[in-house]
């Protein structure tokens, strides 16, 4: 117990997860052997499909030998004109990422701040709205999106960016949670009133006081939106639009190797993004105790 006694002396308001559990954790924690067995077994099972994908990209057809051909093809201008549809689709997905993140930043974020500042009673309503897309999954929503997009195409044309409106809804639960987690740790009301009593205008309050404090949440929300949009298949496929995932499925029928290579790259990219989110939240956890007055919990 001696290891945890300095932290135990702190007020109980400190988050328990920030306190390092001591070796003397009676009963709850497993022994080292049990932990190693469980984690390595599950870890191994989960590594197999990824390793199988990597192995697959080096296969030389059905010959049973290995080759670097499929990876080198990516850089070979003679062959990669074949991949032009995939490049177009990737471009489409990037446009959709941009529109979706923009929707989160321009529509969701200001609304959340406004509700926090002025309409505390609406907080539950906003939370409820943002959680709806979990109960109404994409495959159900798309049934209603078909007629809606029939109108959207008439108004805005059939270019890809309009699909971002649908994606803004699919990322709503994730983006909301990321921003809300940050918003809970910052007392925006006190901060904004302090700033205004010192003579700051509302744009100063928003851009120089509130947003810098929400940087972590906003970044996390943007990253998770990027990851979700890059992986989206359901809506694009059933609305007959082309994005990265629908193109991958299409090209996998003629060239499965390049499809798997792109999947691996997308997976690695998503992992880096989410690792960054994790890093952001731990950095925040270390810094938070420095401004205890502004902490809500």
């Amino acid at each position: 117990m001696s290891a945890s006694s300095p932290s135990a002396a702190r007020p109980s308001a400190v988050r328990p997860s920030a306190v390092r559990p001591s070796a003397a954790r009676v009963g709850a924690a497993p022994s080292r052997t049990v932990r190693t067995i469980i984690l390595s077994l599950v870890g191994l099972l989960f590594a197999v499909p990824i390793l199988a994908m990597i192995e697959f990209t080096f296969r030389d057809g059905l010959s049973g030998t290995y080759t670097l051909k499929h990876w080198l093809n990516l850089a070979d201008p003679a062959v990669n004109t074949k991949y032009a549809p995939l490049a177009t689709a990737l471009g489409n997905s990037l446009v959709l990422v941009l529109v979706t993140v923009l929707l989160v930043l321009v529509l969701l974020l200001p609304t959340m701040i406004l509700v926090e500042l002025r309409f505390a009673k609406l907080r539950r309503v906003l939370e409820f709205i943002c959680i709806i897309p979990i109960t109404v999954p994409a495959i159900v929503l798309v049934v209603g999106l078909v007629p809606v997009y029939a109108v959207v195409v008439k108004v805005a044309g059939s270019s890809i960016w309009s699909l971002g409106f649908a994606y803004g809804i699919t990322v709503l639960p994730y983006a909301y949670r990321a921003i809300q987690a940050n918003l809970q740790t910052v007392d925006v009301i006190t901060l904004s009133e302090a700033a205004r009593s010192l003579g700051a205008g509302w744009s100063t309050v928003l851009f120089r006081i509130i947003l810098p404090n929400l940087r972590r949440g906003v970044l996390a929300a943007s990253f998770i939106s990027v990851a979700v949009v890059l992986g989206e298949f359901t809506i694009a496929s059933l609305l007959n639009r082309v994005n990265l995932q629908t193109a991958l499925l299409l090209i996998s029928k003629s060239d499965p190797y390049v499809a798997v290579i792109f999947s691996l790259l997308a997976l690695a990219f998503a992992f880096v993004l989410l690792l960054l989110i994790g890093r952001l939240s731990t950095v925040g956890a270390v810094r938070r105790p420095r401004i205890p007055l502004l902490q809500k919990r």
């Binding site: 328990p16 997860s17 070796a23 954790r25 009676v26 709850a28 080292r32 932990r35 984690l39 989960f46 197999v48 499909p49 994908m53 929707l103 529509l107 200001p110 609304t111 002025r118 309409f119 609406l122 709806i132 897309p133 999954p137 495959i139 159900v140 798309v142 049934v143 999106l145 007629p147 809606v148 409106f165 803004g168 809804i169 709503l172 007392d187 009301i189 006190t190 009133e193 302090a194 205004r196 009593s197 205008g201 509302w202 992986g231 298949f233 995932q245 629908t246 991958l248 996998s252 499809a259 798997v260 999947s263 997976l267 998503a270 989410l274 690792l275 989110i277 994790g278 270390v286 809500k296």
Partner: protein, 320 residues
């Protein structure tokens, strides 16, 4: 807590009012009295909520309502209950049953394996490298549905997959009774690949909430580790565990992309049946069947999510 922090500063906001009018919080016990003369002002701030409200109305509310209600009208737009009644035809009940089966099996197995992983992580440092990399990996893999997941499993246990071929060389043929990867049973392993990480993400906070003091109290009172798990941790964790189980069930029940990429033809589970209803416009010779199927799915999802939030609120009592 928030109110006690916020109320004293209300005075400063009132003092600043003459220069910058119309920005007081309309709610809160203290501000409600001091700001009374300015009550009319919030109508301006409400304007700030309209863009988001309009967006949600157009792309969430209207599609949801359309998805549910199109099942109630026929091709000519006349009210009918026939589509909804068709939900109870043997063919469609069968797909619902397959969906329940896939979701149930993957939810139970995923919940147990995920809980074991959480348990294994208990003794590690919350901010340590192991915990944070498993957290990040879980959040990636929980999102790793769809086409790419299908590729991963085709490369693993497809006809020419790594494991299939390796086992074949050892004399074991996993496809002795025919290739099941592109059928409903083939969904189980790919689904588990995102169910287990989702369980890790949702269940870990509950396990972290187990206070060391409880284990210490149990030990002081002479309880064994078994007593602790059966009589202290078990009852506390049960609502959270079953809540996460429901969430996993809902997650499998509503996922479409993985199944669509693996099973290119047919309508073996409900989301795939919606696909064929949308593409061919007629299932069972009816139009607007997609709407009825969507209604059926929403009913199931609402029940699941209601149960989840009920259990979640029971959990919240201990997570303070």
């Amino acid at each position: 807590m928030t109110k006690t922090l916020a109320t004293p500063s209300t005075d400063t906001s009132v003092a600043a009012r003459p220069t910058r009018p119309g920005r007081q919080r309309p709610s809160g016990p203290a501000s409600a009295t001091s700001v009374a003369p300015r009550r009319r002002r919030p109508s301006l701030a409400v304007l700030g909520l309209t863009p988001f409200a309009l967006y949600v109305l157009l792309f969430l509310a209207i599609p949801s309502v359309l998805a549910i209600t199109t099942g109630f009208v026929d091709k000519k737009g006349i009210f009918t209950l026939e589509n909804v009644a068709a939900l109870f035809s043997p063919q469609i009940l069968g797909t619902f049953l397959s969906s329940f089966w896939v979701s149930g099996v993957t939810a139970v197995v995923g919940a147990i394996v995920g809980a074991l992983v959480c348990y294994a992580l208990l003794g590690t440092r919350p901010d340590g490298a192991l915990r944070s990399s498993i957290n990040s990996a879980s959040s990636v893999l929980a999102q790793f549905g769809g086409v790419m997941l299908a590729f991963a499993f085709i490369a693993t246990i497809g006809v020419q997959g790594l494991i299939t071929v390796t086992l074949q060389n050892l004399g074991v043929n996993i496809y002795a009774d025919g290739v099941w990867l592109y059928q409903v049973p083939g969904l189980l392993l790919p689904y588990l690949y995102f169910q287990v990480p989702l369980m890790v993400i949702t269940f870990m906070p509950a396990l972290e909430g187990l206070k060391p003091q409880w284990a210490e109290a149990n030990a002081t009172l002479g309880g064994s580790r078994l007593t602790f798990w059966v009589r202290v941790a078990g009852p506390i964790l049960a609502p959270s565990f079953f809540g996460s189980l429901l969430l996993l069930f809902a997650n499998a029940f509503s996922s479409y992309a993985t199944a669509a990429a693996l099973i290119s033809q047919g309508a073996q589970i409900v989301p795939l049946q919606i696909r064929s209803a949308l593409i061919s416009e007629t299932v069972l010779g009816r139009s607007n069947m997609a709407g009825a199927l969507a209604l059926g799915m929403i009913v199931v999802m609402v029940v699941l999510m209601f149960g989840y939030s009920l259990l979640q609120s029971k959990t919240a009592r201990w997570q303070r």
